[in-house]
Point group: C2
Chain length 292, copies 2
């Protein structure tokens, strides 16, 4: 049995064919251009396979409401040409199989639940820090949807008293994303994060904000596992600093030994590494097959 | 068919017998004293009925993990005599029926989903502002559990620049509960909330904090309905002020007409009024019967 997976990002697409064990058999990657051109490459890649289901984890915002007329669409994205693009409909025209469709971070959370660091658990969150800050969540074994989908990157954080950076979010100025995303780091310090790895104060401030935000997610969702992916998380000193700040913010309130004694196992990098996104799309395909 | 319901509060217990339509047939209420005495009254009330299930919505913290040895216990509560009390086990000794057990606010959220303002929806949050601030949540039709249960009343909020009150939370000082609970209002203004109803500045500040917190819950959980219960919510000017502050904080980011155009229907008082808690316990009983 073959499953198709699409990891649709703002700058690149990854497509893969894999199986229900989370194994990738073949993959391809190309830049995200106009929808017609990009989708043609997706279709060309998949058409030689007999697929049983396809999963799509995509940039957004997206319409996930199955009762909505625009279910399966990318909605009001600032990305040129992709506004109101019927993603599911376009794929369905060529492949008459069940299609799983969700945000990129929700997909990655599901991938980690099926085959990664949250394996065997009923809940987790997957946070990615890059151009934006996105967080996917699973509660009681199910991806969190609702009115729309979570937009956790935009929560309010309390500012560090020494931080005078105005923030980079066009909607909220100094929300979490406005203070701690890749572009926020670059604007505040005048260099890209990758070129600042030796500067302790950069990562201490970053951990102050990310740790504070993760403490809030823990208070609201009580996830059994917290996973941090994306480029920024690879800074080697960041994760231990985040552990410290999360404990600081919770201040002993959440009495569970996983937090009090094993925070380094509780908040981790993805078990699937850089494959969290594409395996997540594969997990959506597997789930779509089960839902049928 | 009869269902039993227990709303266990820190100061009073309400017990009721009702049906699966959410109707209460008989109810009784008594002060919360030592567990033995209190539970005897519960048992005496229920024993003349042939009950099919019992639901318990209780003060906490509680252990909701069914795999845990202390499932069904009230755990490390500061309330004298109730620490490590085996609530489910005590009831089960007398009544051999399915028992639903959850936090008081999760119960109220379920009651509102079954029979109140969130009827027909898949998700909602129920917030209560009183001695503490508690929030229950339902996502994809299921009560939110995880590592423990949500403790949303303790999230961080950004302080109002004119507010110099130090905060009343023993764990976090000026978290949401420390700034906006009933005791926080009383300490800040020197009077109980009920005696401050004419003072606009009290409710404007309260709405600033509650609105900010609700905006965070919307970003994290994307609930289809937000319900505010408890004594403080009854201040007549509070709810419209909260509507304004939620819109301010989201600043157009969550593009859904329910928020942008109908916020007064989106964030409301409980449909079940003061019965939200006891009907919630009834809903837990109904759910326990279905889970069997």
């Amino acid at each position: 049995m073959y499953l198709g997976a699409i990891e649709a990002g703002g700058t690149k697409f990854v497509c893969a064919v894999g199986d229900s064990g989370g194994n990738i058999h073949e993959r391809v990657q190309f830049p995200t251009t106009a929808p017609e051109e990009t989708m043609q490459k997706v279709i060309d890649f998949f058409k030689s396979y007999s697929l049983d289901a396809i999963g799509i984890g995509t940039f957004g915002p997206v319409d996930l409401n199955r009762k909505s007329q625009t279910y399966g669409y990318i909605t009001n994205t600032p990305k040129p040409h992709w506004t109101n693009f019927n993603f599911v409909g376009t794929i369905q025209k060529y492949f008459h199989v069940p299609i799983g469709f969700d945000t990129d971070v929700n997909a990655a959370a599901l991938g980690e639940l099926f085959w990664g660091r949250a394996k065997g658990k009923n809940s987790c969150i997957y946070m990615t820090v890059g151009t934006g800050i996105g967080v996917g969540a699973i509660v009681e074994g199910r991806l969190v949807h609702g009115l729309l989908h979570p937009e956790m990157g935009h929560i309010v954080v309390r500012r560090h008293p020494d931080d005078t950076f105005v923030g980079s979010c066009p909607f909220h100025g100094d929300c979490l994303e406005g203070l701690a995303s890749g572009p926020a780091i670059e604007k505040r310090w005048g260099k890209r994060g990758a070129d600042l790895s030796e500067q302790d104060e950069v990562w201490e401030l970053e951990a102050f904000y990310l740790g504070q935000a993760i403490a809030q997610y823990i208070l609201v969702l009580s996830p059994e596992q917290v996973i941090i992916g994306g480029g920024v998380a690879k800074q080697s000193t960041l994760l231990p600093r985040i552990h410290r700040h999360v404990l600081n913010h919770l201040n002993g309130y959440v009495q569970h030994e996983v937090i009090l004694k094993h925070i380094d196992h509780y908040i981790t990098l993805p078990g699937l590494g850089d494959n969290a996104g594409i395996c997540g799309a594969l997990a959506l395909a597997k789930q779509a097959l089960g839902d049928k």
